[in-house]
Symmetry: C2
């Protein structure tokens, strides 16, 4: 057990303490020398113990639900008060940084500590979700899906690399999948939910370079993008690089390359659209053979579904056309399709206002990555607060946050908590 | 031993016999069910035996030189006559066709058979080179390099996949590397050399589709292209596909793709230029990560070295520019540089004329692939005759030739032999 620390009183002390706690939690790992905490791994138990200790210092009694999420409630001024959720996750990708997930939990905890005995007209449930990254079972959001009644038997039977199912992993951890509906469900009277998270992208940081440093610290998330993913195959003819003149080629790579350039050019025309070709392998892959096959991929994201669908249709047509020019066949297989999730407009506006009152400019941003917030949003009005990611870096040991941004986020959350009025019962 | 076959007398019978012999030789393989005869493999010995039998039927006494090439001489009308070489190779790539190499040897043999006792003012040395493909030791032309005094100790010490050196392989076959200079050298009085080979490309076949069928059977090779090869690396930044807006990306694949399209477009402007990107791998290669690195290659070929050098310089500049647009660094490492080898102009003209007299139109073509002829050309006036490759196919079990094209090639070679006048001694 770490030593009890005195409660900080200045903003700077509070920011540095949140960061210190994130870094201390990051030392709890399944792989020595890095930060790797997969869902329900041995390190998860140590993380629960350390978090429970910190929760207890803040006067909170933590419990572990039957998907392994750690949860605690600060009581509101009357027993039947509705509930506000503060949440993020504590699992990590392999060789992760210290802030993706834990920051939201520990910033929520710090806010509760700051509140002291200030009475609020709502309960606050602080949730450290146990599974968000999808790193162990190849499928993300397992614990927030459970909390919203969406963890299906099919998902419970998914297996990890060792053939262990989600249900078996839950039992091995001493929990009971049969009790999930009972122990995991979000409070029925939840009226608002907030996830604080690092941006994991370069947009906020870029504002400083653009001469707009005040708007570079925080952002309010107004939507989480929808996604479409395709596996693409370009099939031409492999031929001898020396004996096949250019006009007689059916070069699968040249077709795919033209398409990559067109995808980049098209997406650059729309500020909210991102389109990415992440995979590209030319086969057979010899210096002196014209590629007969190319395996590639397409990932399209946009905060508005109709815009994403229009982009996908256009880009698939472009692939066909690039192939047709060269006698190359193109096949696109849909691999994923996820609708955009708008954040709650009223709650998001209140978060904007809270930031402004606290002295910060938190403009709207959409999230290009998925978060538990998109799952929780199916059950309660939800919003997110983003903090600048230095270097745009995440899922990397060098992932970090700036102290002043953590202080700004904490001040914003505190202001929101102090001003938020739950709907009249 | 196969049964002796009656000597054919008609053109059609001669063509079909050459093809039948190629197919019979193709059954001699190290890998049952396919045609695979690597340099000095066990199957090579059986190939020597069968060829020796066919040579003997033509009145030729074959010997095996100390790199394993099978050689025989038809004597000219006087003992001090100069020598004409007819040659190709009998090794194969793995899972090869029946004609790449053997056709040139067996067409040469058929020409000698047709000559019967016709006196000629020169000797004819028929050579079945033992190593051309480079498939066993990763380096081609070993036996023709030996025949021209260019098989260096470094090459003799190259090893195959089992760690056996060229010199050891020669000894294991019962030959003696120390005797190479003595037994392999081409005759000092060689005045002309001819390799007959399948085109291994689609150019001749395409002429038929273009309404020029008469010019589709044969071609005279006026040069073997020079080659430049580079390994290319594009280095940007790997980033999250969802959280990184298009303007903030350093997408190594987008840069490489723009370059691939420019390479294709540039090369298409020059009829004799071919430029190929054969390798392309995007890293880390996940659907949802912007590629930070791309490993690729460039292969440029042209029958004129200065044109090839100009193309390479232009294309490397284009790669830099495509990278610079996106903050992507480009590195090019030269992996191979081979000068173009012009065929002997006078001999090539005589081959043109021989084809014309025999009733065929054999236009000039350059060879986009390397051949023993480019090595032999360093020691003697050399030229090549190409036969149409149906489907442009080679290095494949379906590789084939048309009987009428083999007949045309044989008639052309016979006409050349009957008209060729060696220089006065």
């Amino acid at each position: 057990m770490p030593d009890a620390q005195p409660t900080p009183t200045t903003r700077a002390a509070r920011g540095s303490r949140i960061i210190a706690r994130c870094r201390e939690l990051a030392r709890i790992t399944d792989v020595p020398g890095e930060t790797t905490r997969l869902y329900l791994s041995p390190a998860t138990r140590d993380a629960h113990t350390l978090l429970t200790w910190w929760f207890r210092q803040a006067g909170l009694t933590a419990r572990i639900d039957d998907t392994g999420s750690l949860r605690a409630t600060r009581r509101g001024s009357h027993p039947n008060a509705p509930t506000l959720l503060l949440f993020s996750h504590i699992d990590t990708v392999p060789n992760a940084g210290a802030f993706d997930g834990p920051l939201g939990v520990l910033l929520g905890l710090a806010a509760i500590e700051e509140l002291g005995h200030t009475p609020l007209p709502f309960h606050i449930e602080l949730i450290a979700f146990s599974e968000e990254e999808g790193a162990r079972f190849g499928f993300p959001f397992l614990s927030s899906l459970a909390a919203t009644g969406q963890l299906t038997p099919e998902l419970l039977s998914r297996t990890d690399a060792d053939g262990i199912s989600v249900a078996e992993a839950i039992r091995s951890f001493g929990l009971d999948p049969a009790r999930i509906p009972e122990t995991c469900q979000l409070p029925a009277n939840t009226f608002a939910a907030l996830e604080v998270h690092i941006e994991q992208g370069p947009v906020l940081e870029a504002r400083e370079a653009e001469g707009d440093p005040k708007a570079a610290q925080l952002a309010v998330v107004d939507a989480i993008v929808g996604q479409s993913r395709f596996e693409m195959t370009f099939t031409g003819h492999a031929n001898h690089a020396g004996t096949t003149p250019m006009p007689l080629r059916h070069d699968a790579l040249a077709a795919a390359a033209q398409w990559v350039v067109e995808v980049e050019r098209y997406a650059a025309n729309y500020t909210q659209l991102v389109a990415t070709i992440g995979r590209m392998t030319a086969l057979p892959g010899a210096m002196n053979i014209i590629p007969g096959n190319v395996i590639t991929s397409l990932d399209v994201r946009h905060p508005r579904d109709e815009s994403r669908h229009a982009a996908v249709a256009h880009l698939l047509t472009k692939a066909e056309a690039a192939g047709a020019l060269r006698g190359v066949r193109v096949q696109a297989v849909a691999r994923a399709e996820q609708r955009a999730v708008p954040m709650d407009a009223a709650l998001t506006l209140q978060l904007h206002q809270a930031a402004a009152r606290a002295g910060f400019e938190a403009r709207s941003l959409f999230s290009g990555a998925g978060h538990d917030a998109m799952i929780v949003a199916s059950a309660a009005p939800t919003t997110m607060l983003f903090l600048r990611s230095p270097g745009g870096l995440s899922h990397h040991p060098d992932e970090t946050v700036r102290e002043q941004d953590v202080e700004a986020a904490l001040a914003t959350v505190l202001d929101l908590l102090l001003h938020l009025q739950p709907p009249q019962a």
